[in-house]
Symmetry: C2
Subunit: 147 residues, 2 copies
């Protein structure tokens, strides 16, 4: 088994990330998840390789792939929610497993112009709204895949 195969085989989504998010779609490199916070149109992308912490832990081909998947996620978010400015970030101060945030910000949203991270308290979606948003995002991500 190659080191790469080991990495993929042993990948497991961090429990805190799992608890705060809802599954949207599996892209070639990343799990895409909706942040369960109705205040913002906010996804995270988590590369499915064990042991990654920093963006620079990704290999060259994975970096290109991540960029492409971030763009797909951003396009999907901006198709289902208003967006004046994208915020893209890899922080990992609280959860070290590499994950990248993609947020569609709007002028005047509750954290504007500050960052969303650490702003107030997460407000989970009503269940039907969460499902509707995930379904809409899935449709957009799949449409992008088939372009």
């Amino acid at each position: 088994m190659t080191p790469r195969a080991v990495g993929v085989a042993s990948f497991r989504l961090d429990e805190r990330l799992a608890a705060d998010t809802l599954p949207v779609a599996r892209l070639p490199l990343c799990e895409t998840r909706l942040m369960d916070d109705a205040r913002f149109a906010w996804m995270i992308l988590v590369p499915r390789r064990a042991g990654l912490v920093e963006l620079f832990d990704l290999r060259a081909t994975e970096r290109v792939q991540l960029f492409e998947e971030l763009e797909r996620a951003a396009d999907a978010l901006c198709a289902v929610a208003p967006c004046d400015k994208l915020n893209i970030g890899a922080l990992g101060n609280s959860v070290r497993q590499l994950h990248v945030h993609v947020i569609a910000r709007t002028v005047g949203d509750v954290a504007w112009p500050g960052p969303v991270w650490g702003h107030g308290t997460r407000q989970p979606y009503p269940p039907a709204a969460a499902q509707a948003r995930c379904t809409a995002l899935q449709a957009r991500l799949h449409a992008a895949r088939e372009r």
Copy 2:
């Protein structure tokens, strides 16, 4: 003149970015600047192409180059300052000109584990300290270039 040549020719660093930062080095794609805030080891990279707002405005080759330059900046920061976790972010809520933040965070820094953006008030370096940090970063960035 090609559109690309026009973009490079008319690039001008946003005045607010210029006011908050100090010049470090010119890399092939980006201007690298030190955030003039002694609380954090914090650089910004600004691609020298006019009119860029989102990361996804970059062409494929520029995306690869940006990733490489971000890694060089991160390596340089972590060589001259302690670093427990990198924070990488492209926000642009206040200044729309595309710029990417690279911050070497330490457990227990004044904003930890929250983001640096919007945290308290920027504390400019004493002039000699700013110059020393810029010089140290330049040396590291140039060393990386010659590898």
